[in-house]
Symmetry: C2
Subunit: 232 residues, 2 copies
Amino acid sequence: MCYICFVNKITKTKREVVALVPKKTVARLILYKRFLKQLIDDGVKNTYSHDIATKFGVTATQVRRDLMCVGYHGASRSGYDVKKLYDEILRFFINTEGKDVVLVGVGNLGRALLSYFSGGKSHIRVVAAFDNDEHKVGRVICGCRCYHINELKDFVDKNKIHTVMLCAPATAAQDIAVQLIKSGVKGILNFSPVRLNLSADVYIEDFDITMNLEKVMFFAGSNTGFEEKINV
Amino acid sequence: MCYICFVNKITKTKREVVALVPKKTVARLILYKRFLKQLIDDGVKNTYSHDIATKFGVTATQVRRDLMCVGYHGASRSGYDVKKLYDEILRFFINTEGKDVVLVGVGNLGRALLSYFSGGKSHIRVVAAFDNDEHKVGRVICGCRCYHINELKDFVDKNKIHTVMLCAPATAAQDIAVQLIKSGVKGILNFSPVRLNLSADVYIEDFDITMNLEKVMFFAGSNTGFEEKINV
DNA sequence: GCAGAAAAGTTATTTTTTTCACAAAACAAG
DNA sequence: CTTGTTTTGTGAAAAAAATAACTTTTCTGC
Ligand SMILES: NC(=O)c1ccc[n+]([C@@H]2O[C@H](COP(=O)([O-])OP(=O)(O)OC[C@H]3O[C@@H](n4cnc5c(N)ncnc54)[C@H](O)[C@@H]3O)[C@@H](O)[C@H]2O)c1
Ligand SMILES: NC(=O)c1ccc[n+]([C@@H]2O[C@H](COP(=O)([O-])OP(=O)(O)OC[C@H]3O[C@@H](n4cnc5c(N)ncnc54)[C@H](O)[C@@H]3O)[C@@H](O)[C@H]2O)c1
């Protein structure tokens, strides 16, 4: 597999590019991006693969491999220009940056998420919430306006929404997901503990709190020396 | 790597066993367990690797591979006895089952988690919550009693707690984590967007909502045909 | 009882991800 | 200007995970 500069120099469709980038690399790049942002805010000018690696508990080689995917070249000996590297990573995430997100299911979890994303703690904007509970529809909840789920298709169309956080009860999740896809949604962060059965051209990330808690309980109980470096 | 019956027949320490079981297999086994529980409740007696595979979007071979790790043998043609397989998976998770968990950081997210786990929606028990906010200490919040963070060590000792859900602000997370480890905690499900820097004999699962949302946004924007089968 | 199908179990192969190892570059000090 | 050190970039190797291919068992229908 040849990663070399495929983002910038060789003409490939975005689809092919994505296929070449390991999924875990995408996850790590997001973390690197966050770290670089921090460095910029702190006024740091340069950084090294080794720095980044230490920060995230991976090897320096891994970091350099990952950075190959974004096509920015550091300098021997003086490492990476923080600002330039950051910008290049932003370019890699060009389809992501600035895009808005909506949330479906304004329950306990949904409200926690809404307050977080409305509270200015994130650069990601959650621009609307949807529920089927008439008591919630029409109100502004945790800083976000709540619409009826039936209004979702219109909203998604008009606002070119690609991504949804799905916090509905397990029993409703599959039906809602089908509706989301019909409305043109391309990615779902699924908090409900059910696997969504959908056509293949949608990206689903199952974000299963209970399963992950059980996983921690297992490894905590088993006393292995393992430590998952990065959760992907 | 030879998986054969290592749980039951070959004498190995638990540590070695865990090292042989792929991490992702552990994650999938938890999902299979949940599915089998459902089948038992529905009165289904038998199931097949193919059934389970379809349910979770993996291959039947993968399922059989995973099940090798728990040491239960199905029967050709008639598949797996649901109850027996479930029991065998429980045996695999013997150190996990029945163990209790505590939560640190009773903020927006913490409260959502507390109401979920106190609301009888999970078989996992969150037996105490900890915070440093005097307004919260001493109260029962979302069905769970909240103690001062200073009382944590005692509680963890007395109640043999191994696992913690950490929902504190990013700025406090590292300090709290150090304290947790000193208190004897062996596993942390870390919701804060910082990597915890700790000694290696603790299992940390970084459960980074923002990073995962960005990942979905990336893949949603990039229109690849990819679908992550199971989030691990 | 036998042919055929269906399913588990297992070995081999492939694919994906990570690490190793080293060349090339760049800088610093003498 | 040369030597040594540090750091990137990358081919090659290794490790991990997933899949394919094959073997055996068991059941069904004839
Ligand atoms: N809260 C947690 O800590 C937690 C933990 C683990 C898993 N989960 C999962 O996350 C999901 C949400 O959990 P929660 O605690 O917020 O649940 P909740 O019951 O508090 O909220 C669910 C919300 O979805 C809405 N809803 C129901 N049907 C709908 C439909 N058809 N269309 C639109 N909205 C609909 C409800 O009105 C409600 O507002 C659940 O699937 C749950 O299993 C939550
Ligand atoms: N809420 C979300 O949807 C969301 C989304 C992404 C990430 N997160 C992360 O999850 C974590 C919790 O988020 P939140 O929205 O619940 O935050 P929050 O501010 O609402 O709650 C934090 C809680 O931690 C307590 N706390 C602070 N310092 C403490 C200490 N030293 N010891 C014990 N308790 C302490 C506070 O009193 C408060 O109750 C944060 O790290 C946040 O970045 C949350």
